[in-house]
C-alpha cells in the first residue's frame, strides 16, 4: 500500500509522457520541446522549491504569487527611473526577502496561522504592486534589453542550447536541496515539522528558524518574479498570480512520494514536471486551459487524499 502510494506519482508521470508521446509523435518528445518545457517550468520550479522550505515545517505561504508580481514591478519601476539593472534586481530581491521575513514574523513571533497571515500579505503585496505600477503593465523601451536578453540566452552544450532560465531554476533547486537535505539547518526545519513543541524543548530555535525559512520562500518568489519579467520583457501586477496554487500543488504531489509523506525538494521537482508536462501536452493538443485547471485541482486532491489515507491506516 505504501509502496503503491510512493510510486503512484512516478507511474502517473510516465503514463502522461507515454500518452502525449503517442498522441503527439512528431512534436512532444523532441529535444526542442523538452527544453521549451524546462523553460516554461522554470519559474514554477523556483517557487515550488522554495515553498518546500516552509512546507517542511507544516507551514505554507500563499503570498508567493503576488510577491513574484511585486518583485517584477519593483525592478521594472526602477528601470523606468533609469536605475541600473543590478539596482533593480537587488531591490526586487530585497523586497522578496523583507516581505518573506514579514510573513515569518507574523507567523512565528506573533503566532498568526500561516493561512491567515499569508492570505493577508497576499493582498498587501498585490495592492503594493498595483500601486507602484498604477495598475498598468510596464513594457517596451522601459525594460532594458540586456535584462530581457538574459532569458533568451543559453549555454551551448554539444548541439543543444540550455536556456538560462532553466539553468537558474536548476541552481535554485540545487541550493534548496542542499539546504534541506545536507545541512543541519534543514534537519532542524524537518524536526520542527515533525513536532514543533518537542523541537523547542530540545533546544531548537523554533521562532528564529521559522522566520528565516519564510524569508527564503519570499526570496524565491522574488527570483521567480524577475525571471518572469525577463522572459516576457515586461512587468504586470498580476503576472505571478498563477504560481502559488501550482507551487503548492507540486509540493503536495511530491509529498506522496516520500516515506512519511514529508516534502522533499527532489520530489517537488517531479511534481513540477508533472504539472508542466500536462500543461505543455494539453496546449499542443489544444485542450481548453479551463479543463487543465479542473485537472490540476483534481490531481492535488487525489495526491492529498492518498497521503491522508496512508497516514490514517497507521
Amino acid at each position: 500500500m505504501q509502496k503503491l502510494r510512493q510510486s503512484g506519482t512516478l507511474i502517473g508521470f510516465v503514463l502522461i509522457i507515454a500518452f502525449f508521446s503517442f498522441q503527439l509523435p512528431d512534436t512532444f518528445l523532441t529535444a526542442r520541446n523538452l527544453l521549451n518545457i524546462s523553460q516554461q517550468l522554470s519559474m514554477l520550479a523556483v517557487v515550488a522549491a522554495t515553498m518546500t522550505i516552509v512546507m517542511v515545517m507544516n507551514d505554507f505561504d500563499l503570498s508567493v504569487g503576488s510577491m513574484a508580481s511585486l518583485s517584477g514591478i519593483v525592478a521594472a519601476s526602477l528601470f523606468v527611473n533609469e536605475y541600473s539593472i543590478w539596482a533593480g534586481i537587488g531591490a526586487a530581491l530585497l523586497v522578496g526577502l523583507v516581505g518573506g521575513l514579514f510573513n515569518g514574523i507574523l507567523v512565528s513571533v506573533i503566532g498568526i496561522l500561516p493561512f491567515v497571515a499569508t492570505l493577508g500579505t497576499l493582498t498587501v503585496f498585490s495592492g503594493a504592486a498595483f500601486l507602484l505600477s498604477d495598475g498598468k503593465t510596464i513594457f517596451g523601451r522601459d525594460i532594458p534589453k540586456s535584462f530581457s536578453d538574459f532569458s533568451r540566452g543559453g549555454i551551448e552544450v554539444g548541439s543543444i542550447n540550455i536556456p538560462m532560465l532553466t539553468i537558474t531554476a536548476g541552481f535554485v533547486i540545487f541550493i534548496c536541496w542542499y539546504i534541506l537535505e545536507q545541512t543541519n539547518f534543514g534537519r532542524r526545519l524537518y524536526a520542527i515539522g515533525g513536532n514543533r513543541e518537542a523541537s523547542y524543548l530540545a533546544g531548537i530555535k523554533v521562532v528564529k528558524l521559522r522566520m528565516f525559512a519564510f524569508a527564503l520562500t519570499g526570496l524565491g518568489a522574488a527570483i521567480a518574479g524577475l525571471m518572469y519579467a525577463s522572459r516576457v520583457a515586461s512587468a504586470n501586477p498580476t503576472q505571478g498570480a498563477g504560481l502559488m496554487l501550482d507551487a503548492i500543488a507540486a509540493v503536495f504531489l511530491g509529498m506522496t512520494m516520500s516515506k512519511q509523506s514529508e516534502p522533499r525538494v527532489i520530489f517537488t521537482l517531479i511534481g513540477v514536471l508533472v504539472l508542466g508536462v500536462l500543461d505543455n501536452g494539453m496546449t499542443q493538443m489544444r485542450v481548453d486551459s479551463y479543463v487543465r485547471e479542473i485537472l490540476v485541482g483534481l490531481i492535488v486532491i487525489a495526491a492529498v487524499a492518498v497521503s491522508s489515507i496512508s497516514k490514517a491506516n497507521r
Binding site: N184, N195, Y200, L201, Q260
Partner: protein, 500 residues
Amino acid sequence: MMHKLTLNNVSKAFNGVPALNDVSITLLSGRTHALMGENGAGKSTLIKLLAGVINADSMSIFRDKEPVRITNTIDATSAGFRFIHQELNLVPEISIAENILLSKHLPTLFGIKIDWATVYRRAELALEFLGVTHINVKSQAGVLTSGDKMLVMIASAFVAEQEASPYLYVFDEPTAALTDQESAMLFSAMTKLKEKGAALLYVSHRIDEIMKFCDDISILRDGVLVKSTEIKNLKKAEIIKFMTGRELKDSYPPRTASMSSKNTVSLRNIETDYLTGINFDLKAGEILGVAGLAGSGQSSLLKLLVGVGKALSGDATVLENSLAKSPHEAWSKGIAFIPRERRSEGLCLEMNVRENVVLSHLKSYGFHAKPKLERSDVEMLARQVKVKYNGSQQPVFELSGGNQQKVLFARALKGAPELLLLDQPTRGVDIGAKYEIYTLVRELSDNGCSIIISSSDLPEILGMCDRILILSDGRQTGLLEKCSLTSGDLLTNIYSSDLR
C-alpha cells in the same frame, strides 16, 4: 449467573513481525483480570484488537457460547466493550460534561434543542459513580489538572447506558497519572462495576496495585501468553520473572560515589506565574526528587530550569549562570531535559532514532550534516542506554514506550550534561526498562551530574533521591532529607501540606 468472555487464538503481526502469537485468554464476569507484560510484550496490541482499532490476523471471541465479531470501533461499542485509555484525549475548549458524553448523542428536547440540564446531570452521575464531587461539569475541560483530566476520561466510560449495560471494561494504565488518593477512588468504582457483573481487564505496570485489586492475571512476554491464572497463585517475584524472563533483586541501584560539596543549582525565593517560594541548593552528583499532587507545579519547576517561562522575582544560579532564557540556551550550557509527555513534548515520532537523538546536539556537527558520524555516535549511545531497535534508521513511532523513553535518555546523555531534569521518567515504562533507567540515572549521579526527578511514583522518589522537595499548588511546602523516610511519611507530608 457468571458469564464468560473467551478470546481464542489471537494473532497479529506488523510487517511480518509478530506482536501477538496465538494468545487465548478467558475473562469472567464479576472479576478483575490483570494483563501484564513489559513494554512491547503485546498488551497494547491486544487492547487495540478488542477495541477494533486494528484488525487481527486471527481472533475469535465468544461471549459464553455466542460468537462476537469485532472489525471496527463501532462493533466493539455495540458488543458492550468500554475502554479507558492512558492518553488524555479531552477537548479542552468544550465543557467537562460534553467531554464525558462525547461519544454519546447528547439528549435533546423535541429532537432539536440540547437538553443541557440532562447533559450535566448525566455527567455528574458518571463522576459520582467514581466518587468525584469536586469537579464542576459546566467548566471547560482545559482548566483541569492532569489528574482530574484522567478522572474525567475514566468517568466517560461510566455514563449510564439506556440499552444493555456494558459487560467488559478495559483499563489501560489508568493510574499512571493518578495520585494514590485518586487511584483509590478508581478502585472503589471498579468494585461497583464488578458487583454489577461486568468483567474488567486491567493493564498496569504497578505490581503492588495489581496484587491488591485483581482476581486473575495473564502475563504476556514477546507476544506470547506465558501465564494465565488466579492471582493468589503467584508471588510478586514470580510475576516479575514471568514478565521479564529473569530475576530482579534490588530495584534501586545504591549510590557508590559521594556527593561533591559544589553547588550546581541554587534557587532563592523564586516566584513565577505558577510557583512561589522555591528555595533549594543542589550539589554536583545529588539527586533531588520533586513530589506533590498532580498539577502542583512539578513540570513548571523543571521547565523553568530548562528555560521555559521566567522568574518574576528571586535569585537563581544554575551552573554558574542565571536561569536559561530558552531551551536552546539551557541545552548549550549543559542542561538536559526529558519532558513528561514523551510523544507530544519529546519525540518527532515519524523521524528515526538517530535524528531524534542528535536533535539537541546538531550544533556540534557543524553546518553540513554528517549522518555517518551521527550514526556511529547514536549507535554507541543506544547500546549504553540499551535501546531495543532495528537500527538507528528505524522511525521512533515503531518503538515501544520504554524504548522511546530510552531514545530520550540517549539524547540527554549525548551532551554529557551537568544538570539532568527528568519529568516522570518511568511513566508507562515496564519494570525491566525501569531498572535500566534507574541504573543509568545512578551512574550519571555517581559521575557528578546533578539530577532533578519529578515523579508521582513515591517508591521511585524514595529509592533514587537524596532529598525531596514537596510542592503544593505551586508552593514549596517542604524539603526533606531522605534518610529514613517511608512512603507513608512522604504521603503525610504531601497531603498535610495540601491542607495548610
